[in-house]
C-alpha cells in the first residue's frame, strides 16, 4: 500500500449492512480498496485508508453508505473559509491552478 496512510480515526465513512444487497459497486469504485464482501454483504476493511472521495456513496443503489465527502486539500479548505463556502479547490477560477 506504499505505506501512505493518513491520520487515524478521523474518516466519516459509515456502512449500513442491513441495507447492503452485495452488488459490489463500492468495491469497484473505491480507489483505496476500503471494502470487501463477506457473507454476501459489504464490509469496511480499513477505514483509515478512506480519502472521503464519495464514489461509494454515489454509486450505492441501496443508499447503504454515507460519507462526508469533499476535498482533502489544505488550500481548498482555506479557500472555503475565505469565501464562506464548502471546502473547494479553485480549479475553474481565472488564472488559478489546481490539482
Amino acid at each position: 500500500m506504499n505505506g501512505l496512510v493518513y491520520l487515524k480515526n478521523v474518516v466519516t465513512l459509515e456502512l449500513d449492512q442491513e441495507k447492503c444487497n452485495g452488488c459490489r459497486m463500492c468495491i469497484i469504485v473505491c480507489p483505496h480498496a476500503v471494502f470487501a464482501i463477506e457473507n454476501k454483504k459489504a464490509v469496511i476493511l480499513n477505514k483509515d485508508l478512506c480519502m472521503e472521495c464519495g464514489a461509494c456513496e454515489k454509486n450505492c443503489p441501496e443508499n447503504a453508505i454515507s460519507v462526508r465527502s469533499g476535498v482533502g486539500c489544505a488550500a481548498g479548505i482555506i479557500n472555503g473559509i475565505l469565501r464562506g463556502t464548502e471546502p473547494t479547490c479553485d480549479c475553474s477560477g481565472p488564472g488559478s491552478s489546481c490539482c
Partner: protein
C-alpha cells in the same frame, strides 16, 4: 475546429464524426511539458462531444473522458490500434477526478452528452465505459434510470484500458487502486513549485529591501549581502516544502504533512547553520529557524491537495493545530528577524 490531432472523419447515421490520432505529435509532448509547469494550464481543453478512434462502427465500445487536453491525450494514446468511440464531457478543461469532485464530470453531464450526440443511434449496444475515478461524480444507477445506457467502470489509469478490454471488461485489483508512486509525485513537483510563483518574487523582494536596515539607518551594501542570504534561505524553505517533502513523502516520519514539512525545513536550516550560512547573529539564526520551519510546513501541508490519499476530515484535523503553529512561528520569526537588524546578540 482545426486541431492537429484530428485525422479525418467517420460517417454515421447522425452525421460525420471527427476521427482522432492515437499517437502524440511533438507538439502534444511539448504542450504536456508546458502544462506540467503550469504554462497555459487553465486553457488546455478540447471540444466536448464524440470522437472516432480508428474506424468504429455500431458495435464498437464507447469510452467516456474529460475535456482536459492532457487527459484526452492519454486516453487517445491508450486506445491506439482499437476501433472505438470517445465521448468527451465538458469538464471545463479539468481532469476526470478533480472534475468529478467539483461536479462537472457528473451524472447530469454524461446524460446530457449521451443525448446531445445521439449515442443510441451511433451504437447498437447499451454500454458506456467510464473511468473509475469518474465515479466520484457519476452515479451508475442514475445513468441506467435516465438513459438507455449502463455504466461499466473502467480502470483508474488510461494505460490499463487495453488489458481491461482484453480481460473481458474486468479490472484487476491493481487497476482499481490509486497509487502515488515516487514517479507520480516527482511529475507533480513542477506544478507545486509553479503554484507559488506570484509570491516567489514578492516576498524575497521585501526581505531584500528590509535587509538594508541597521542601527545607523539604511545600507545598500547590507541590503545586498544580507538580502541575498535572506532570499537564499527563503528559497531553501520553498524547495524543502514543495520539492523535497513531496518527493520523499513516505520516508519522512509523521503522518501530518505540516510536521513532515517542518522537519525537512529544520533539517535544511540546521545544515545551513552548521556551515555558518543561516544568519550572522544567534538572534537572526533563531528567526530563520522559525521562518523556514513555518514556510516549509505550510507548503508541505498544501501538498495534501495534490496527494491521493488525504481525507477532508483528516486535513481539517491537521490544520486545526498546524495553521496556528505556522502563523505563530512566521510572526515570531519576522519580528525576531527585524529585531536582529538592530541588536548584535
Amino acid at each position: 475546429m482545426n486541431a492537429h490531432y484530428l485525422t479525418g472523419q467517420v460517417n454515421t447515421i447522425v452525421g460525420t464524426i471527427p476521427q482522432i490520432s492515437t499517437v502524440w505529435s511533438r507538439q502534444d509532448l511539448w504542450n504536456t511539458i508546458k502544462v506540467r509547469w503550469s504554462v497555459g494550464r487553465m486553457d488546455y481543453k478540447v471540444e466536448p462531444g464524440i470522437y472516432a478512434v480508428g474506424n468504429p462502427g455500431e458495435s464498437s465500445l464507447v469510452f467516456v473522458t474529460a475535456n482536459f487536453k492532457l487527459t484526452f491525450d492519454h486516453v487517445r494514446r491508450a486506445l491506439g490500434g482499437m476501433d472505438a468511440w470517445l465521448l468527451v464531457l465538458d469538464t471545463k478543461g479539468i481532469n476526470v477526478w478533480c472534475a468529478a469532485g467539483k461536479g462537472t464530470f457528473s451524472t447530469k453531464e454524461l446524460v446530457r452528452q449521451i443525448n446531445l450526440v445521439g449515442l443510441e443511434k451511433i451504437v447498437n449496444h447499451h454500454k458506456v465505459i467510464v473511468p473509475q475515478l469518474g465515479a466520484v461524480g457519476v452515479s451508475a444507477h442514475e445513468i441506467r434510470k435516465n438513459t438507455d445506457f449502463s455504466v461499466i467502470y473502467g480502470p483508474v489509469r488510461a494505460e490499463d484500458i487495453r488489458d481491461f478490454v482484453e480481460a473481458g471488461m474486468k479490472a484487476t485489483k491493481e487497476m482499481r487502486a490509486v497509487k502515488f508512486s515516487t514517479w507520480d509525485r516527482l511529475k507533480l513537483i513542477p506544478v507545486e513549485m509553479a503554484n507559488g510563483r506570484k509570491y516567489l518574487l514578492l516576498i524575497p523582494a521585501i526581505f531584500l529591501i528590509l535587509s538594508g536596515l541597521n542601527p545607523k539607518g539604511y545600507s545598500i551594501d547590507m541590503a545586498y549581502h544580507d538580502g541575498l542570504r535572506s532570499v537564499f534561505n527563503l528559497l531553501i524553505a520553498y524547495v524543502t516544502g514543495c520539492g523535497i517533502t513531496p518527493a520523499l513523502l513516505p520516508w519522512i516520519p509523521f503522518r501530518r504533512f505540516a510536521l513532515k514539512g517542518l522537519l525537512t525545513g529544520w533539517l535544511a536550516a540546521f545544515i545551513l547553520a552548521y556551515f555558518h550560512f543561516l544568519g550572522k547573529t544567534n538572534f537572526e539564526i533563531i528567526s530563520w529557524f522559525l521562518m523556514i520551519g513555518s514556510l516549509s510546513s505550510f507548503l508541505a501541508m498544501t501538498f495534501t491537495g495534490t496527494s491521493t490519499f488525504t481525507s477532508l476530515s483528516g486535513v481539517q484535523k491537521e490544520m486545526k493545530t498546524a495553521v496556528p503553529m505556522q502563523i505563530g512561528m512566521a510572526g515570531l520569526g519576522v519580528i525576531a528577524w527585524i529585531v536582529s537588524k538592530f541588536i548584535t546578540l
